[in-house]
Amino acid sequence: MKMKEEAAVRLREFSDFAGSDKILILERIWEMKKRVSYVCLAGLLACSMLSVTGCGSKEGGKGSLTVFSYGEYMDPDVLDQFTEETGIEIKYEESLTPEEMYTKYKSGAIKYDLLCSTDYMLQKFIDEGELQKIDRGAMENSGNIGDKYWKLAAAFDPENAYTVPYFWGTLGILYDTTRVSEPVDSWDVLFNGDYAGEVIMQNSMRDTYMAALKYLGYSLNSNNENEIREAQELLLKQKPDVQAYLVDEARDEVVAGNAVMAIVYSGEAYLGHQYNENLAYVIPKEGSNVWLDAWCVTKHCEDLDAAQKFLDFLCREDIAKKNFEYIYYSTPNDAVVESLSEEERADEALVPAEDATDNCEVSLQLEPESNDLMNELWKELKAD
């Protein structure tokens, strides 16, 4: 019989009790503590039994909301404050990418009440009937969110019936100004091989294909098979020159000097600049993606009132400001923007200029065949 005693090695000290002198010591201790041990054991067992039965069914019970959002996308103090003010408990779950969130949600393993997701994924949720309508009238603070952003949201949520904007921004290139030979203004630098081994791409399917498609002059929502395949060719050719496919840690790598440039979200760019002054952020001239993350309520939510309370809470100026200062992504909350300092408002990464997003597109759901194709190709690209 083969045994794989992995941690036996770790507990060499304790397993050494098999040595004859130590077993005597142990048996002495066992003698003394027997009665106490039995009681403790019984008590702990009882507690464990309770925890198994109790926690299993307490899921999303009265006075609690299960929230699914991105990692580090909310100040934990905000959650505590909400519970203090309303008595409603928040169970917060994190996801890395929209695709992951969709997969986890669909698996049905956990019943989520609120989701915070990205434009095209929200569109998918809406189209598949997974969401409940929200009553904006019941949320007085929702007026803090500027009209421009409701319009942006309308691209995937036509009547703004299901979603409440949370943060928005662009995708662009974060680069080290001291290590590039000329100012960066095009996706070209990622693909032309000049910076081989010093380029980091996004580990998120739509974002990486966006760069390739935009560079080739196509729409990032293209459903044209040829265009997608052309993008794939480009990416495959680029892969040996790519240092890594990362999500938000790409910022750290550029800050550390491990790479010269990376595709990042505008919010990460601001932080990057804080850590390393030599870094700059640019939205390439071929155009990029303007994205909007928003909240929605799932059909599983039984307490719509509580959910709306939470969303309303997030739109409140002081709370929105807290979150803004926690993650420094561009906020659609006009009240917060107005309260920023001159310097902060001038920073393009924090508050993008009016025209900066002119040639940026919002991501929309692809058609099923295109989606499947892109999934297949992405898998091939990563495994190459």
Binding site: K2, R12, E13, S15, E100, T103, Q243
Partner: protein
């Protein structure tokens, strides 16, 4: 006689909670995973998910995983024997302080330790910093197969060293002295005495290193920069990103079969109980 049989018979009922547990949480889940593996997303019964392991993408990942696993196992063996011999030469026993120092790192969370390696190996990281200070060329190790290899060897080396050390520590010094008296040189002593007696430990070590290093996905996630995929990564992504559970299960089943075959091979050589040289 009858009494003994009766008490023995009754004793088997003690294991009933365990039997229930095994059926409920080991056997049935395996059944569930087989069920997913043998059905396809669209239609009913299908073998496509199990055969999927042979598709180019998956095969590539499988081959890479095997490379890592075999490489890691071999490197661990090559690193372990000199260490064990050195420890024995210096007379350090199982209770020795050195042994204790070797086990201690395992108490720090392994994800953090792998992250630390990522910082050490990155292009502008600590290793290259030291190398350039010494006037040498920087090593572009970040996000390469070498980095992943370093990571797995680091994580699993103790699991190879300890069983071998246990086996070798039990060898009576008298035998070695006798051999030397009879004229054997160091190398012969190793070849004829130490190595053969260490084999149970070696087998334990191989089992504990080979399978985990082949199926790990965290190490390749952190040290591979998203560029290199082990079979574990692909399976994990099928469940978390692609929501194709059937394919993920099919690949898992193929992996399980593969592991069982290779383990059966090593198990054949081990008489029951000898493999527990860990103790």
């Amino acid at each position: 006689m009858i009494n003994r049989a009766k008490s023995v018979n009754r004793r088997t009922w003690l294991s009933s909670p365990y039997i229930v547990w095994v059926i409920g949480f080991t056997v049935i889940p395996l059944g569930v995973i087989f069920k997913y593996a043998l059905t396809s997303r669209e239609s009913g019964f299908s073998l496509e998910n199990i055969v999927a392991i042979f598709e180019p993408i998956h095969l590539k990942a499988m081959v890479f995983s095997l490379e890592i696993a075999i490489g890691c196992t071999l490197i661990c063996i090559l690193l372990s024997y000199p260490l064990v011999l050195a420890l024995r030469y210096l007379g350090m026993g199982r209770q020795g302080f050195t042994m204790f120092i070797l086990i201690l790192p395992m108490w720090m969370n392994f994800i953090l330790r792998i992250l630390a390696w990522q910082m050490i190996l990155s292009n502008n990281g600590i290793l290259n910093f030291l190398l350039t200070k010494l006037g040498l060329d920087a090593l572009p190790l970040a996000n390469t197969g070498t980095a992943i290899m370093i990571g797995v060897v680091y994580d699993y080396l103790p699991y190879m060293v300890l069983p071998i050390f246990n086996a070798v520590a039990e060898i009576d010094e008298d035998i070695m002295e006798a051999a030397r008296d009879l004229g054997a040189n160091g190398f012969t002593v190793f070849r004829k005495i130490i190595f053969p007696l260490s084999i149970p430990g070696l087998l334990s070590g191989i089992v504990m290193v080979f399978v985990p290093s082949m199926t790990s996905f965290v190490i390749s996630d952190i040290l591979g920069g998203g560029k290199l995929q082990l079979i574990g990564n692909i399976i994990e992504q099928e469940f978390t990103k692609s929501s194709n559970w059937n394919l993920g299960s099919g690949l898992s089943v193929s992996l399980m079969i593969f592991v069982l075959i290779s383990m059966a091979f090593t198990t054949k050589n081990d008489v029951e109980g000898k493999g527990s040289a860990i103790w």
